[in-house]
Symmetry: C2
Amino acid sequence: MQVEGLSINLATIREQCGFAEAVDVCLKHGITAIAPWRDQVAAIGLDEAARIVHSNGLKLTGLCRGGFFPAADALGREKALDDNRRAIDEAAALGADCLVLVVGGLPDGSKDIDRARRMVEEGIAAVLPHARAAQVPLAIEPLHPMYAADRACVNTLGQALDICEALGAGVGVAIDVYHVWWDPDLAKQIARAGRMKAILAHHICDWLVPTKDMLTDRGMMGDGVIDLKGIRGMIEAAGFLGAQEVEIFSADNWWKRPAEEVIATCVERFRSCC
Amino acid sequence: MQVEGLSINLATIREQCGFAEAVDVCLKHGITAIAPWRDQVAAIGLDEAARIVHSNGLKLTGLCRGGFFPAADALGREKALDDNRRAIDEAAALGADCLVLVVGGLPDGSKDIDRARRMVEEGIAAVLPHARAAQVPLAIEPLHPMYAADRACVNTLGQALDICEALGAGVGVAIDVYHVWWDPDLAKQIARAGRMKAILAHHICDWLVPTKDMLTDRGMMGDGVIDLKGIRGMIEAAGFLGAQEVEIFSADNWWKRPAEEVIATCVERFRSCC
């Protein structure tokens, strides 16, 4: 029985499965939408990954990830652009709905976050023609402010949408509840994203209390404090009716369990909590 | 030689010293401004703490802390108000510039952050007459969004200033660089705070990369990525010329070093990095 509206970001079972096995587990549980990471695709090879995707009629709610634009020197920034163009090509080959951008933080030694943010906008602008030609939408994912220094200096949905407005067609946002649930401006910015038709992806997991690790202690839906149904309502009211994509980094819990159990739990919680 | 413009939040050496010993270390290094925590005051007794403060002519840049207004039931909320009124009385007895408010997060079992935020505003409103009568300004400290669930659901300076605007005289903000440095709206909101004459305190430390613990891995000024001089410039331009208050929670580093070394380092870094 197919599970409509649910996608699995393959990071959720990355410690248990390679690409092919992860797809098998998803299909077995009726899930036909996934979002792989580039290293997972590279491990099996882009051609074989694309064959598996197309032969099974899988929907890709995104490819993770491009981004990491800021760098201390021009050579570093140029290398980042090249890598992003390759990521765009991979997303096109896989037929992904979007390329998710984790935009990058401060270059080494820098304390100038405004400059890093300008580098992000300039970087996205530089690869945008390639993305448009390949018909791959770029999805800026605002990351939680606790990642501002080292992963992404775009930290609110409002900030991401400002970049989308500045750059025009071909750039939108991936809204991950983990990163934005706390934002007092969230409802307003989701509505704005809807008016801009900028919502490209909707990621879910949960915020645990306490959170023991800043990167790898994300929770299964229902185990934390995020009002998942409330945010889903806002996103649907804004016109995005695509799948909810489960993305859970969980070193001490879900990554240690059998992939079958994790995916079965995702399905159950998706039905009861999301 | 007196160190002008530097205050030490006594949490910075809380594992090494009680109140009296901490004051001695500060005085020895020429520091005549401090900000104690209520548990440190309680351990020595309010009267004795006040005697030490007044006999040494110490300036208190704040008393930490009131707040924690949201609660699951009316009884819990009433208890929080009583505790805040006691904190106001203690701040008055000590002659503190302000009572710092860490406003509290989600009540147990709740996923309704909007409701928690309303409880915060209602709670501050409820104790404000007492604070005004005691002439103790209340300083809302917006906390980093990673504390939204369990410590403070006021997570941006803009949000704190909205509450100040709603409640009127007697409420301002404590700006801690650790909590706000990432905010794309920071410059604008500091300027707004200046126009409102709402800046009551300026806390400093640094954001380490990587940050290994969400609460107790804060850095000494200069060891992280925060543009301390830049933010200081904004705050001074906004009209606040009070002391910069060092508040460092550091379980694995600074709390393990001799208090003398910590305070000497604070003075040195205050001069070179802030």
